[in-house]
Subunit: 217 residues, 2 copies
C-alpha cells in the first residue's frame, strides 16, 4: 500500500482535469456562482474544500486600508480553499460565472479519508510550490519580468500559443504587486516589441515565446 506521501506525490504530478467527483462520487455539492460573487470570506471557517468545475476563481486578501493581494488564480480541476488554520486568511471570489464542487472535510473523514487526504495533501503541495514561485516573483522581479512571467504561466496552463485572460487588469496588478497602470504599460511594451499580440482586451497570443521566456528570467 502506498503511503500518503507517495500517493500524493504521484497524484500531484498528473496535473489532472480529474475531478474530485471521480474520487468520491456524490459526496460533494455542486454550486454555481456569478461573476464577482464570494465563494468564501476572509476569517470564515475553513472546513470546506473546493474544486473548480467550470469557470475561474481568485483568492484575495484585503488589508484594512483597502490594499489587496491576490493569492492565486484557479481553473477547472484545481483545488482551492486549503489553508493551514481553522479560518481562511484569504477570501475566494468567482472571476466569471462558475461551477464549484464543494466538499465538507469533516463529513468525509470517516467514509473516504484516504482519498481526501491524498487530494488535500496534493493540493497543499501544489499551493506551496506556487506560493514559493510567487514569493520569488514579488520579491525579486521587475515589473516587466513580473508581467512576462505571469503571461507565460497562463499560456503554460492552457498549453497553446495564446490564451484568454479570465481576470481584469486590476486582478493582475494585485497578483503581481503592481498598479493597474504599470501592468497596462508593460503589456503595451510587450506588444510594441512584437513579443505578444492582443486581439481584444482579454485574448492574446505569444508571437515570440523565447523572447517572453527570456524576459521572465
Amino acid at each position: 500500500m502506498l503511503t500518503a506521501i507517495q500517493s500524493a506525490s504521484a497524484f500531484f504530478h498528473q496535473p489532472s482535469a480529474r475531478l474530485v467527483s471521480d474520487l468520491v462520487s456524490g459526496m460533494g455539492v455542486s454550486m454555481s456562482f456569478a461573476r464577482d460573487e464570494e465563494i468564501y470570506g476572509q476569517d470564515e471557517d475553513a472546513d470546506l474544500v473546493y474544486q473548480v468545475v467550470k469557470g475561474a476563481v481568485r483568492t484575495s486578501r484585503l488589508m484594512c486600508d483597502g490594499r489587496r493581494q491576490i493569492g492565486d488564480f484557479y481553473y477547472p480541476g484545481d483545488v482551492f480553499g486549503i489553508e493551514p488554520d481553522e479560518e481562511h486568511l484569504f477570501s475566494a471570489e468567482a472571476l466569471c460565472d462558475c461551477v464549484i464542487l464543494v466538499l465538507k472535510r469533516s463529513s468525509l473523514r470517516d467514509t473516504a479519508a484516504g482519498e481526501l487526504d491524498r487530494l488535500v495533501y496534493a493540493a497543499a503541495r501544489r499551493e506551496l510550490k506556487r506560493a514559493h514561485e510567487h514569493v520569488l516573483l514579488l520579491g525579486r522581479k521587475s515589473a516587466r519580468e513580473k508581467v512576462a512571467t505571469f503571461l507565460l504561466n497562463i499560456v503554460d496552463r492552457v498549453s497553446g500559443g495564446g490564451a484568454r485572460l479570465s481576470m481584469s487588469r486590476q486582478d493582475i496588478a494585485d497578483y503581481l504587486g503592481l498598479t493597474i497602470e504599470t501592468v497596462s504599460r508593460m503589456l503595451t511594451q510587450l506588444q510594441a516589441s512584437r513579443i505578444i499580440e492582443f486581439v481584444g482586451l482579454r485574448d492574446f497570443k505569444v508571437v515570440n515565446p523565447s523572447a517572453l521566456a527570456r524576459l521572465a528570467e
Copy 2:
C-alpha cells in the same frame, strides 16, 4: 482514530519545541553545520526532511543573475526542507553553527509512516501559511511596514520584549525584497522614533510594541 488532517492540525497548533526525535527516536541522523554552510542545494533531491535542533537556518533561491530571495528562517523545533517537487527549489544554509536532525523520508515510510505523515503535513501547512503571509508582505507593504512586520515576527517567536537577529542585514533585505541600505535606514528610523532600540548590531528590544504593531499593519 484520528485522520491525518485532524491530527496534523492538532500538531500544528502546538508550536512545539518538541523534536522529531521524540516521535521517531533514533531514526534521524544528527548533523552539525558551520556558519554559511550549505545544508542542501537548489535542484538537489528532496528526499530528506530536516529539523533544527540548535542554531538557525535560512532557505534561499538564487536567480541566474545573482538576485537572491530568502524563503524563510527556521529556529529550533522548526521543520524545513519540505517541498512539493522531487527537487528543491530553494537551498538551505546555516545562519550560524547549527545542529540539524536529518530524516530520510523513504527509510521512514514503512516503519513510522503515520508519524512522519503527520509531521510532514503539519510542516507543509505551516510553510503554506507563512508563504501566504510572505506574499502579502512582499506584494503590498512599504519598506517601513516590511521591516516592522519582520521585527514583530521575530519577537513573537521568541516571546519576549526583544530578540537577537541571527541573520545579517543582507539576509533581511533578501527576505523582504529590499536592499541592505533600505533595511538599515528603516531600522535607523524605528530607533529614532523610539519604537525599537538596538544594543549592538544584532540585539534589539521593542520599546513601543503598539507603535510597532501599528506600523506593521
